[in-house]
Amino acid sequence: MARVWAFLTNTRGGARLHWTDWASYAYLTLGIFLMFGPVVWLVMSSFKTEADLQRYPPTFLPYQQETVMVDGYDDPLPLFLMTGGEYEGQVLAQLRRVGLQAQMIDPENPTERLRVTIDQREPVDRIALATENYTDLFERFSFLRYFWNSTFITIMATALMLLVNSMAAFALSKYEFRGRTTVLLLVISTLMIPQTVVLVPLFLIVTELGLFNSLWGVIIPGAATPTGVFLLRQYMLTIPDEILDAARMDKASEWKIYWRIILPLSAPAIAVLAILAIMWRWNDFLWPLIVLTQSENFTLQLALNSFQGELQTDWSSLLAMTVLTLLPIACVFMFLQKYIATGIASTGGK
């Protein structure tokens, strides 16, 4: 903790703050605000009720109107503070509102009905988290189902991609064979074809294979990526051939060389690719949208999309689910981010 504090209060040296310190901290603070502002706003909004979300001007903190249970009424009644008229200063509960008039009662004296105009009152608010936004996701919507779909697709696609790409990269970096350069050029040249161009043919193939509306229809087409092959190949080129020769002298099969020598030694590059793959798959929208049409197969991204109707949008659920969708990817990034810098630095070819 002391070290964190020392780091956060670093200065250019000397006891007094140099003007560059002020500039740096101002710049960094601005950066933090720009980066985290929207995320914090999102999290805050996800705890607001639908009514609170519609409020103008918007507030930073989530508010809810105070309610009170009154004898003789089944539902809790919202409380208002009277700002004018004969009841000024009193806190009344609203029974119903008709146009500009509202029927109120005094919670202390529930038998007497009072009639007030609505511009003479303002709601009594308190800071409260609308956790029902989150619990609803589990109760009303099958959030766990979508979560499972997304997780399954992400994990399987990433694992498959790492396996396929690393094997291809191993062959392209460590074996001499006729046409190796051609194969590599072919792989790299597919980078130049935008995904949208192959969308229709890919869809036809997936349908033909009977993978339409199946999670595997999302997983398999993304198993091999030219970026991944190229990234891993460049890294594997830096592994000395002598180590492979040594393994061969040690009677290791080629498969064993791949599994026990090449894979562990490529770990930094594989970690980078894993992070990228997880982010790609988790955030993928277009391809799952095309392949998955039944809601029980929806991924989180598709489910989020389905909250946005043509006529109305369920903002509170949408925001809550967005937060839950962000969390896993943020965790992955937090734990693996140190590999990104080292991995990318060392894949740049020494």
């Binding site: 000395p240 002598e242 020769d245 040594a246 393994a247 061969r248 002298m249 040690d250 562990p264």
Partner: protein
Amino acid sequence: MAKLDLRGVRKSYGSVEVIKGIDLTVDHGEFCVFVGPSGCGKSTLLRMIAGLESITAGEVAIGEEVVNAIPAADRGLAMVFQSYALYPHMTVRQNLSFGLENIQTPKPQIREKVEAVAKMLQIDMLLDRRPKDLSGGQRQRVAIGRAVVREPNIFLFDEPLSNLDAELRVDMRGEIAALHKRLGNTMVYVTHDQVEAMTMADKIAVLRLGELEQFGRPLDLFNTPANLFVAGFIGSPKMNFLQGRTDADNRSRLILDTGDTIDLPEGRFTQAPGQAVTLGLRPTELQPDPDGALHAHVGAVEQLGSESYLYGTFQNGTPVTVHNPGQTTIRPGDKVTLTAKSTAMHLFDTETGLTLRA
């Protein structure tokens, strides 16, 4: 029995031939050193024996079995690489046991063997470290241990000491020689350092440009080099070479280009009268002598206390090195006359470079 036979072994990369037909036999238990300047093909030859390079023509036989078509893993050899090639992600113990695991050795046996080898090479306290935490010498030991633990028929060493500092190199040289004595295996050792070759080998193969220049015991190579190249390569400091021509009337009389004349011993060489020849004299065999036939000008003197070296030139500018046991009073700028024992003379045909020894 692990006898190694090379019969007419050749290797080409495209149209470039790098190994030009090599025949040699290493008997069981022999320590054979391939030596030569860089680019002579010695490492390639070793890799061909190991099975890491294909053989373009000829045969490699281990025992009596031709192994051309047998993959490296199944030849029963072990190799120590120049860069050690330890598996960086494994501990020393895992490095040593990897080969044994691959031949399905039972776990307790692996443990036992690894520990025995580690003890022998004095790396038993390093077993749980990774290669990056070891010094050069320790890595070298691990690399040797990895080869030893599988009990191969033949050990192959590819310049294993070239990454070590001079002092450590001398130590490891002794250890490898001792290891050879203890294990009694056939070993093939590649180096560019002729001192290593001389000190360790039972047999030396001198290679140049993919050809075998001479194959034999170290002292045979030293005493009776087959050609100019071997004569110049083996021995330190290098042998002095003097160009000349035998007298047209008296083939025992050698007229050197330096202007000096020298008498060759009768019957030792097969030189013809009037033939262009090169006289080879080792620095240790040349001595300053007031009655000497060779006139030289001293350029520099190195006094090492127990021995001294004179560096100079003959009258025509040919450089000469003289080794003098003990200390000397000769100083730079002096003119000296040198003499050589007739038994220590080497004579070569200047055109072919071959020895003229009878």
